[in-house]
Symmetry: D2
Subunit: 142 residues, 4 copies
């Protein structure tokens, strides 16, 4: 399973002294982009390719707070669902919480053309996603 690492920055905290909840969607995006890069799905020479993959739905469940300096590990799985691409995420902070995720999330995406109209996911993405393992029960707590 693909794992992405992120160290919590000072500017990601709020006056509760924990990570502000909106930043978790940014962490998921970082993991998703790194996953796509790892799979050969992002071409930085054509940055607009990444721009044409839109977010249509997000869902986040916060189980434990995260703090400045925390070393987060994000596990991610993805699959096709018709014209949609679904990603699921588990965020861990191993030092304090061990095997318990601090956060679980799901995001749903569609491909758009240059005209911002709905398209089918590219053949490359289809091929990659069909080879991915998907565990239906992976996010029991979302």
């Amino acid at each position: 399973m693909f794992v992405y690492k992120h160290k919590v920055q000072f500017y990601e905290t709020d006056m509760m002294k924990i990570v502000h909840h909106a930043n978790y969607l940014r962490f998921c995006e970082e993991a998703r982009v790194a996953w796509a890069l790892h799979k050969g799905l992002i071409d930085y020479q054509k940055p607009d390719s990444a721009a044409h993959f839109a977010v249509v739905e997000t869902q986040v469940r916060h189980l434990k707070p995260l703090a400045f300096g925390d070393n987060i590990e994000i596990e991610i799985q993805g699959r096709l669902q018709g014209v949609r691409v679904v990603f699921e995420y588990k965020l861990f902070e191993r030092t304090r919480y061990g095997q318990d995720p601090a956060c679980v999330a799901r995001t749903v995406h569609v491909a758009l053309g240059a005209d911002l109209k709905l398209q089918r996911p590219s053949m490359e993405m289809k091929k990659v996603l069909e080879k991915e393992q998907w565990i239906e029960t992976w996010l029991l707590n979302l």
Copy 2:
């Protein structure tokens, strides 16, 4: 119904030339805080009171894109659910989309003590929420 207004800033866009999806959780927070202020539930002299109201779950569905300069109107409803407080949101951009929401969202919260331990919502919040109208079917598209 309480309505909050937000004008989309340049820094809230991304290279897709639309509002980055993580910012919608910030718009919901703005609306929620303005609602709580309007209801007399925030005391800026004791800023920690606001800090002790944690986000445990968020869900956002994006129906239409938002762009730089858009004048957003956010409608919000809230209710108690055991120790939890649930808010629902509709974001409108009337000029382009009329009565169709551009986005709908739900956030779930709990009160925490100074020790970050779970508490019951305050009596003031209970009283305010019990008087609020809650329409069960308000967010059919979430």
Copy 3:
């Protein structure tokens, strides 16, 4: 003098329980865009016009901290300097600090064509800026 108002949001704070310093550049941008809109220099039907006005330099001096819920007033002045446009800002929080600015700032900009190459500022902008009052000694403390 043009004055822009901004209420400090929860998500703009950090674990010091004050506004994170990077957000001041966002407040300046909000004030600058509102000023340009007020002067008829932004056409939201052609959003790319705003996109072709690049930031080349920023300078911020923090004099007093700002906190959640603060009502900021931002005064702004602008002028041409060759191909550059310079803006200066004073941020006030009247309740606690009275006439003393909480922050002063300066930003420098250039116009870019669709090809991202340097251009002269538009005739409209020149006309507006030549009519503006500019007080050389306005930011003695920057």
Copy 4:
């Protein structure tokens, strides 16, 4: 010289399709925190220690634009100046710009006590900074 690396994220871009200027102060903060951690000056068990180091001034000059996916390298130097600590930064994107920095910056800081009153920098920080090399002419273009 200490070098910090940051990969530009999608959410750090704006509708100009380049990194939004306010994010450069976040990159500088990341580099500064990583430097302080490397020098043994941050104790994540006492997160408030980092919180008591305030930003009083920032200055940024943008020389070249940065884009989604860029691999930034940030060089940093720091020194004491009375009760102040000054850091200077060069941001490089080697692939496109080679030895030319894309951005140079300077930030000035003071130590604060738990009461937010001005303090002298800690003995540990003094010791570290006195051993650092400082090149006066390092940022000729700021």
